[in-house]
Amino acid sequence: MKKETKILLIIPAYNEEENIEKTYSEIIKYNKKKNNHYDVIVINDGSKDKTEDILKLNNIPHINLIHNLGIGGAVQTGYKYALENDYDIAVQFDGDGQHDINYVKDMVKPIIDGKADFVIGSRFVKKISKFQTTHARRIGINIISFFIKLFTGKKIYDTTSGFRACNKDIIKMFANGYVTEYPEPITTVQVLKNKYRLEEIPVEMKERTGGVSSIHTWKNIYYMVNVILSIIVVSMRRYNK
């Protein structure tokens, strides 16, 4: 008989007092309904609001970062936790209500079946998601997509999706080194360059129900330049795999 796969949901949270409880209770509800157990770890990235109190009050498993690290540093803490506690699969899941717990099963499946090492939950594959994104953001995502295709040869549609699942090898890789700034597209390149098998799976995303998105409009050009340069640099690195 196969050993049961241990699955961890990594939820980075920065000033998510409005959403985090709802997100967590939905996961618990789902676990009960499907007789499942996804473990959860919320990484509280030095929130300035009541996020920490809410986490404590509701007994939500969490790690409080003693200082704000930014999304990359927070998520990496989650991967370190996953590695330390010997999880087989880690799923990055947003705390702001954008991601739907019902899709985690689909995302984890290719990894359990051994068909993929890394799975991205995508808004743009098959377009089952009603909520797409703003026009400007879409253009940005397409440009990043083009550069990833140029440097790795693989077409990724939703390059900025924060809904991702990965297996143990990649947990280890991320725990040891994770891009701290704008991690999503860059880590995708890192995964591809290391010759891991990547799969993009259609998921539905909701518009965020509260809080403020971490990407601001006026930073967009800086963001694009930064991401494109990083893609080039990460592609030029040597990998021994």
Binding site: V40, N64, L65, T77, E84
Partner: protein
């Protein structure tokens, strides 16, 4: 090269070296970081000490006047030191991030943890 310029460079270099040694004596900078500065100043001193060297280099590199070359050299040295500093800062950022993560995780370990029913290693 005029004697005046030579004197200015000498004076400037010695003053700077004095300042660095003062800082070092007070223990406010480790020697490894001071070395970069001392090395730059040493280059400057050597060039101004050896007669004829400055004019030769100036002509060789196509500068109009020795003072121009001194400027360019100083900018070069500063650029080099700046890049070195950026690398040092990045390394420290990395270490700080690691510290924050590890300390936060250790703090969390002490508290009860809902995920680990079987107990951790």
């Amino acid at each position: 090269m005029t004697l005046n310029l030579k004197l200015v460079i000498l004076l400037f270099s010695f003053l700077f070296i004095f300042v660095i040694f003062y800082i070092l004596r007070k223990g406010r900078m480790p020697i490894k970081y001071a070395l970069v500065w001392l090395f730059g100043l040493l280059v400057l001193l050597i060039i101004s000490f050896i007669p004829g060297l400055m004019s030769t280099i100036t002509k060789l590199l196509g500068f109009q006047t020795p003072s121009n070359m001194i400027f360019a050299m100083l900018i070069g040295i500063l650029l080099f030191i700046n890049i070195a500093l950026t690398i040092i800062i990045s390394g420290q950022n990395e270490k700080i991030r690691l510290l924050i993560q590890e300390v936060s995780m250790t703090k969390n370990d002490k508290k009860t943890d809902n995920n680990s029913k079987k107990g951790k290693k």
